[in-house]
Symmetry: C2
Subunit: 198 residues, 2 copies
């Protein structure tokens, strides 16, 4: 895959160009703001109940944002794959502790940027505000559609709608995490899958 | 209230200054991009299943974003009061039809801006990208916390948590709309309110 042959910061610049048309920023100019990290499957990009000190750009792999629910069970609230940003974006902005954690579902390569460096980056390259505005505007709009589906669909419709619209997740993410993300039990998902196969 | 004595575009610039520290843009420079509108209670800022042609800044009043659910019932997905932006931000960006409508819950004064003018405004005053990035970054982060509460809380906890954290809505928005926003029936909300008063 072409994506794998790029350096992480080149891949980020590619995404910036594709989404926002900004082409006047180079790897040399911005790489100092980022740290590149490999996180093993099930490892934490951020542990829950810590300061949301970083924003994460997924270079490869798949991660989930979650909180620790009753009985210590992790409840998924968001997934992210290649070219997605993931973090608790309010706690990051306000530099406070987050109730959410972020965990690798597959082995991940990420670019991470601290709040301090994020502010410096955007101060030095204000044209990147356009890119991040689009990232968050679209993410916010998608969250409204997600809330809609959560209200509107039966559990079964919700599951099959998700599988239909996000085959990239359905193939990569374990069933129990998709169930968690949709607010269903793993047993319920097994049941409706079995019913629809037979 | 001081807020009522400002011109709509002055109020927007006040909000821009407060949220993002940007103070080098004047009313004269940006007012041509906006239209000011008064919308009567129950009137539409945007009818459902139309092109999401505008972004709305609420100057005064209160509005809801909703979709038309089964049996023609309006299901609330978002509220907005003074100094909030509201629209279907994906459909607006992609210039396509939106399944959501936007309706005044109280008489509203709004500033509306078309996609064409929004792009021109940000092209002429790129420093405003910083403001809109913050608006959407915070809105997206809040949506993640909202999804969390929807998973985590019992219906009763969900209602009282909302009332506790958003007294400004609880006092202004009719009970049946708060129930809708939380995915509850109005009957259920009446019941738990009665139980907790007695």
């Amino acid at each position: 895959m072409k994506i794998k042959t790029l350096l992480p910061v080149e891949q980020l610049l590619d995404h910036i160009r594709t989404l926002s048309g900004i082409g006047d920023v180079s790897v040399d100019q911005i790489e100092k703001y980022f740290e590149s990290r490999e996180i093993k499957k099930k490892g934490y990009l951020q542990e829950p109940n810590n300061r949301a000190a970083h924003n994460f750009f997924i270079v490869s792999g798949c991660a989930q944002m979650f909180y620790v629910a009753d009985k210590g069970v992790n409840q998924t609230v968001q997934f992210a794959i290649e070219n997605w940003w993931i973090n608790d974006s309010i706690s990051f902005q306000k530099e406070r502790s987050s109730e959410f954690g972020i965990q690798a579902i597959e082995e991940c390569q990420v670019l991470m940027i601290s709040k301090h460096n994020f502010d410096k980056l955007l101060n030095e390259f204000p044209q990147l505000e356009h890119y991040f505005r689009l990232v968050y505007q679209i993410a916010y709009g998608a969250a409204m559609y997600r809330l809609r589906y959560q209200y509107e669909y039966s559990k079964e419709q919700h599951y099959f709608n998700f599988i239909h619209h996000h085959p990239e997740f359905a193939q990569r993410v374990p069933q129990y995490l998709i169930a968690s993300y949709l607010g269903l039990t793993p047993e319920y998902v097994s049941e409706i899958r079995a019913k629809n196969v037979s």
